[in-house]
Amino acid sequence: MVDRPAGSNKPHLELHVPEPKFRPGDQADFSHIDIGEAGAQPRPDEACDAKETLPLCYDLIRVLGEDNKAHGAWDPKLDPETLRQMLQHFATVRAFDERMFRGQRQGKTSFYMKCTGEEATSVSAAMALASDDMVFPSYRQQGVLIARGYPMIEMINQIYSNKADKLKGRQLPIMYSSREHSFFSISGNLATQTPQAVGWAMASAIKNDSRIAATWVGEGSTAEGDFHSACTFATVYNAPVIINVINNQWAISSFSGFAGAERTTFAARALGYGLAGLRVDGNDPLAVYAAERWAANRARANQGPTLIEFFTYRAEGHSTSDDPSGYRSAQEREEWPLGDPINRLKNHLIELGEWDEDRQAAMDKEAAEKVKATTKEAEKNGILGHGLHHPFRTMFQDVYEELPWHLEEQAAQAKREREIKWPGEEPWS
């Protein structure tokens, strides 16, 4: 350290280390969050100049009010059938999360991640896209697959890494891939999907296709360089892409302040790049749908990319390996001012006279039963570590299009080892 003479009257410089407002044991109080009034936010034309979205980068787009009615210019005016469909997807996602979480606790797989409280940010957003728009999800968008009708048994096979897993047991649970459903292979490296989505969208534009791309990234992961590269490329080439930032307040144990949330909003990141930006109540399914549709229309009409911040709350732990009671107030979930997306949609449908508690209870029960039955079905293909996995030889496949000599030699070695360990058994099975 440099020795400085005493008596200097210059101020001591101080480092700021962000600290969340509440820690375990504290009473959570979210009254500092300005949630604005549902329906009060203007809805600019989809073809507007990106600059016109500036106020919407700091405001919060909301449609569903305390009165359970839809308000304002952002009301997507969905018919009751579509709303019930959305509710059904919600019920399925929540039941699925419950069951898979339990499955992990029972040792049927190594890992699971719930999206409790964030269902609208994937289900409602996916419903606003065309079914062949390409999505580049992160790891908490199981709702996209459910909304797109991906067979649930394939999801469970993947989570169990069993012999029916389409990904041949190579990926961590929940890192799905489905080309058929225009769902990109999920990476464990955060934010890498963001420039990839932009690249796909650029390719679509190069080919004069009409499909657009959308990507999801956690607010914590927006600190990665990939996110900033993605924004730069998106704006430079006017790529038909939507960048969805899921601000669920927490990145494992680090609160959003460590990604810069103390100084500005994540939607406001759009401004410096010249992207259109929207900040949206992520627990309001109608607002999520409306914003995603706005951005999709904009992209599809060559009007440019949009960055959407979905302001939400991660109600459960980060994953099955996490215990949030170690770092945040236990009351946060109850105190969260934007409520629960499923309840809000349910209450809206009831308010419309299109739904009731009995039908909701029946729907929840049916969803739970469907997940249970599908789980049983998937278990016939095996659970993690119980021997029913893909044949060993598949380990060496797909590294390259063709098997090179060195992998062929290594595969022969693996085969010999198995013949020694389990003589008489088919070594490749």
């Binding site: 360089g225 390259y400 090179p404």
Partner: protein, 356 residues
């Protein structure tokens, strides 16, 4: 950078006129890219300065003008973005050929290459592939200092799912590059920039030969390929085997000629996939093996080659394997010829190999 590499001309390089078409490496690469843009509408080229200007080394000169701005275009200075975007384009069905301006700047894009491009086929069980060819000038000997001279090939040969290709002649540059672009796996195509304009002998104080005097600068018109995984016999000899690639092929050849040594020189051309058969056959024939590369020594690709030769040819070896490499220091600007594995270093290794 040396004057030899300062190419500020705006025109596309023109091949020598005459009965034989003789190209330098830059022209051969340009020709390969031109042909692939023509043949395959899914091929696109992008990178810093590659569009209007045609790249700092002029490898893409004239291509944007000919094929249009959506086929050949400039990118932001964001290697992570360039590679990440190329992964997405590959997933769409394009065949991007991104250029990283210097191999020294590939590091910001490494995660996208190593964790994403290389493993996409495997992790998605062939749902998606990333068929891209990342072109990048590499290697030293051009007074590029430590940030324009590196040879990072070993980083990529260590990654499952990537292929690594390094040409050493205009003929090979064109044929190999076309193979890479047609390949469905992600390929790193390193262009030894010291030999863009002429086959450098390593005798840096002697005049540099231009390519047009070299037999391998005769480049056929049109489309042809050189298979990945096949080494090239540069010279045939009985005294020792030399395993080399890129610039060092020419250095090894010149040194052996100078010393009057009858060497079996193999230009590996591709590190992954590697032509193990050619290596084995040659070392078993000569019983002596020298491995030459410009990259730093420790954990360099020479270590892998040395291990393979030891494993497969041990009973045929009549002397310890020699590794001739750059030193384990950053590439020093003013002392570049002290760093470069030149005639003295190769010569001493040859003397040790042939001692008895």
């Amino acid at each position: 950078m040396s004057d030899a590499l300062k190419t500020h001309a705006r025109e596309k390089p023109v091949a020598e006129q005459g009965t034989e078409r003789r190209l330098n490496m830059i022209e051969a690469i340009n020709d390969a890219l031109d042909i692939m843009l023509e043949r395959d509408p899914d091929v696109i080229i992008m990178g810093e300065d590659v569009g209007y200007f045609g790249g700092v080394f002029r490898c893409t000169a004239g291509l944007q003008e000919k094929h249009g701005k959506t086929r050949v275009f400039d990118t932001p200075i964001s290697e992570c973005g360039i590679i990440g975007v190329a992964v997405g384009m590959g997933a769409y069905g394009l065949r991007p050929v991104p250029e990283i301006q210097f191999a020294d700047y590939i590091y910001p894009g490494l995660d996208q290459l190593i964790s994403e491009a290389a493993r996409l086929r495997y992790r998605s069980a062939c749902d998606y592939i990333a068929p891209m060819t990342v072109r990048s000038p590499f290697g030293g000997g051009i007074f590029g200092g430590q940030t324009h001279s590196q040879s990072p090939e070993a980083i990529f040969t260590h990654v499952s799912g990537l292929k690594t290709v390094i040409p050493s002649t205009p003929y090979d540059a064109k044929g190999l590059l076309i193979s890479c672009i047609e390949d469905n796996d992600p390929v790193i195509f390193f262009e030894p920039k010291r030999i863009y304009n002429g086959p450098f002998s390593g005798f840096y104080d002697k005049p540099v030969e231009p390519w047009k005097k070299h037999k391998d600068s005769v480049v056929p018109e049109g489309h042809y390929t050189i298979p990945l995984g096949k080494a090239r016999h540069v010279t045939e000899g009985e005294e020792l085997t030399v395993l080399a690639y890129g610039t060092m092929v020419h250095v090894a050849e010149a040194v052996c000629r100078e010393k009057g040594v009858e060497a079996d020189i193999l230009d590996l051309r591709t590190m992954v996939p590697l032509d193990i058969e050619a290596i084995e056959a040659s070392v078993k024939k000569t019983g002596r093996c020298m491995i030459v590369h410009e990259a730093t020594r420790t954990s360099g690709f020479g270590a892998e080659l040395s291990a393979l030769v030891q494993e497969r040819c041990f009973y045929h070896l009549e002397a310890p394997i020699e590794r001739v490499t750059g030193f384990d220091t950053p590439y020093p600007h003013s002392l570049e010829w002290a760093y470069f594995p030149g005639p003295v270093r190769l010569g001493e290794a040859i003397d040790r190999l042939l001692k008895d």
